[in-house]
């Protein structure tokens, strides 16, 4: 059963995320993938995350595919113009990668090579529309392809960045452009997320697209504080930081918080699944999936 079928069915979906290494060592990905096999439906492969050079997302996705996992290849607009994006997408489709997550991408100044030029020829919404057009058999130049790719199109959403109403408009546009599923930023503020989901269900967008809520498990309070300070657009409820600080075993508390959040998310109307992002802590995934009572049928 592919992710596409699972989204078409009623099942609760669990996704995870792997960051490729900053070297050509493909074994790192194979090693990390072991923590996910049998526990998650699909695995995101980040594309030069935070503007730091890493093993390419297409190659990593292919490695995952060979390991028997279903990859979701992330594609950002930071490093490629429209020509490179289309050719990379065709290459990915030829390799058997059928899930793509369309992102605008972090600005180069966030990474370790801030001198680089950010391309941003398209933005995420235009990228979604481009992939949808390719699915229908045409390139951006209106050239008709002999064989059209069949991408499942994903997009990201950040309910926590202001202005709130603009985030709904962005999601509306992403669905309009053709996004099949949406992965959100890690939920650490349930009040805002619930309000956002209420608006989404009111607009009926949850029927046209599958909303996967982001869940992050962290090892220490320091990580949370660092995230709030360094990662723009992230909002963390104070109670979680205080709980992590007060805990005698912060790792255990981190898992507990993640499980609590998953339990609440499962109850929210319109949430079709979760997207797990254990920060530098892939090995915890099986524990979380098991204890949250989520089972995967492959």
């Amino acid at each position: 059963m592919t992710l596409k079928d699972k989204i078409a069915s009623d099942r609760f979906i669990v996704c995870a995320e792997i960051g490729p290494p900053q070297s050509c060592d493909g074994d790192v990905i194979r090693e990390k993938s072991k923590h996910f096999k049998g526990y998650v439906d699909a695995v995101n492969i980040t594309d030069n995350q935070t503007a730091v050079v890493r093993l390419s997302s297409i190659a990593s996705a292919k490695i995952l595919l060979d390991e028997g996992l279903e990859p979701i290849m992330q594609m950002t607009c930071r490093d490629r113009n429209r020509l490179a994006i289309q050719s990379d997408l065709l290459g990915a489709a030829a390799l058997g990668i059928h899930n793509v997550l369309c992102l605008t991408g972090d600005y180069p100044t966030f990474g370790d090579q801030p001198e680089a030029k950010g391309v941003f020829d398209l933005d995420s919404i235009q990228l979604i529309a481009t992939v949808a057009k390719m699915n229908s058999g045409f390139l951006l130049s209106d050239h008709e392809m002999n064989k059209a790719p069949e991408f499942l199109i994903g997009a990201a959403a950040n309910p926590f960045a202001p202005p709130f109403e603009m985030r709904i408009i962005r999601l509306y546009k992403k669905v309009e452009a053709g996004a099949h599923f949406i992965q959100t930023q890690p939920v650490f503020d349930l009040e805002i997320f619930t309000r956002w989901m209420e608006r989404i269900t009111y607009l009926g967008l949850h029927k046209k697209t599958a909303i996967l809520a982001g869940v992050m498990a962290v090892k220490s309070a320091k990580t949370l504080i660092l995230m709030q300070k360094k990662v723009p657009g992230v909002k963390i409820d104070k109670q979680y930081i205080e709980r992590m600080k007060a805990a005698s075993d912060p790792e255990e508390e981190g898992v507990k918080i993640a499980l609590e959040i998953i339990k609440i998310l499962k109850e929210i109307k319109g949430v079709r699944g979760i997207h797990l992002m254990p920060y530098l802590w892939e090995s915890i995934t099986p524990t979380i999936v098991r204890e949250a009572g989520l089972s995967i049928i492959s």
Binding site: Y107, D123, Q126, P162, G178, P232, G233
Partner: protein, 150 residues
């Protein structure tokens, strides 16, 4: 699926037209640069961004803010500035021009960079500006409730 997602080079710009475009651009600059900090993209969308130039965004977003707007509304790249789209949203609300924000803006034609947007409108390369947005609230409602599944 949306059919026309990119602004095409149609009709193509001749060398003679570029010369004329440069002349017109001089007058356009005099107005647009001091008023809107125009970045001369040649594909003006000021009328649907409540007359704030979206091209001042470091990522040159044409379809709304990226996910990096900070909690105080400042830009993720330059924390000393407000996010351009944060300003656009609140100005749109003030001027009752929310409905244009729902339109998906086409992929930018970089060939039009540093050409006169006025001439490009006249030549029908880009959409004409909508000076007045009537009954904004009803329009937003119509866009939202245009959904048969709801």
């Amino acid at each position: 699926m949306i059919k026309d997602i990119a602004t095409k080079n149609n009709p193509p710009i001749s060398g003679r037209e570029r010369k004329f475009s440069r002349l017109l651009l001089f007058f356009e600059d005099v107005i647009k640069i001091p008023l809107f900090r125009c970045q001369r993209c040649g594909e003006c969308i000021l009328s649907s961004t409540a007359f704030i130039c979206s091209q001042n965004c470091p990522k040159r977003m044409r379809n709304g803010p990226c996910g990096g707007t900070r909690q105080d509304g400042s830009c993720e790249v330059y924390p000393d500035r407000k996010c351009v789209w944060y300003k656009i949203y609140y100005r749109s609300k003030l001027l009752k021009r929310i409905s244009p924000l729902y339109d998906i803006k086409k992929i930018h034609n970089w060939n039009l960079e540093h050409t006169s947007a006025w001439l490009n409108v006249f030549k029908k390369r880009i959409e004409a500006p909508k000076w007045f947005v009537h009954k904004d609230k009803q329009k937003v409602k119509a866009i939202i409730s245009n959904d048969p599944e709801r």
